[in-house]
Subunit: 184 residues, 2 copies
Amino acid sequence: MTFGELARWERGSERVLVSTKILDLRSVRFRNPAKEIEKDFVVIHAPDWVNVVALTPGNHLVLVRQFRFGANAFSLEIPGGMIEKGEDPVTAGTRELLEETGFGGGVASLIGSVQPNPAIQDNRCHFVLVDGAVPTGPLHWDSDEEIETSTAPVADVLAWARSGKITHSLTIAALTFLEGIRRI
Amino acid sequence: MTFGELARWERGSERVLVSTKILDLRSVRFRNPAKEIEKDFVVIHAPDWVNVVALTPGNHLVLVRQFRFGANAFSLEIPGGMIEKGEDPVTAGTRELLEETGFGGGVASLIGSVQPNPAIQDNRCHFVLVDGAVPTGPLHWDSDEEIETSTAPVADVLAWARSGKITHSLTIAALTFLEGIRRI
């Protein structure tokens, strides 16, 4: 494989089309010097996200089930959320895990990062492993959150992904990184 | 695991905040009958997408590298794109594969579907396997596309995902489905 022949587009000025609490929609001017063309592209600007692979001492994965407004349906996922300004992914991941599920403790580490959608989004999603998580504290849900927590063997979760019971692409990608560090 | 205790939100009226060629940003009213509250949530409306797991007769995966405007960087991915009105995922996948890479032939089948982001998006991404793909035709890039095609052993691609060389979450999720039907 040879890299480097493709022309790089240069990012120019941008304007915010809509600003919301969770993301901005922007129109960004790009210029291709090789082709001598300029065009506007839509870019979703959002803070980085974190998703948490929390394993219990019995090697079960901590899952959350909640209503998701985009899909207009319930969704079974691993815990996660937006990383706040100044937070590193591990701090954000352990915070989200505790707030959403009450699970904490164990050893937390960053096991991978992805781009949810490099074509139209500028942010990354980080995957944090919390190894040895146990129920430790009270829940702190946002006002419109209502979350059901459960645990299941990782192999079952992978089977659920392949059979359509788990459909969240970031949860499925997180399993790939977990497989990279231990056999499921 | 017990399901069903969580209150379902009811989707109400919506208004389009911004409409673009590839997606609409909408504000959607949801009502929670159990809590007796109503709130507006941001939803990205987009057509379903398709990503193509194309394997050559030598069991190499077909990859594309292109500039991605969201990430403002080059990205190594599997081929894919938007499903057009009236297309089924398999038709759209074989079309995108041929347009972007010139690969065709083989046997095409749907091996899985995910939600790219159920929290804020309403669409799905379908994964189509094209088994036995070979170079067959000329390329048909969109005016702002410039795509470098390559092939690599699937195990290498998985290693690249885990080492950060492949970062596209949907490409990584697609590998999970491929692993579900054959050992990598």
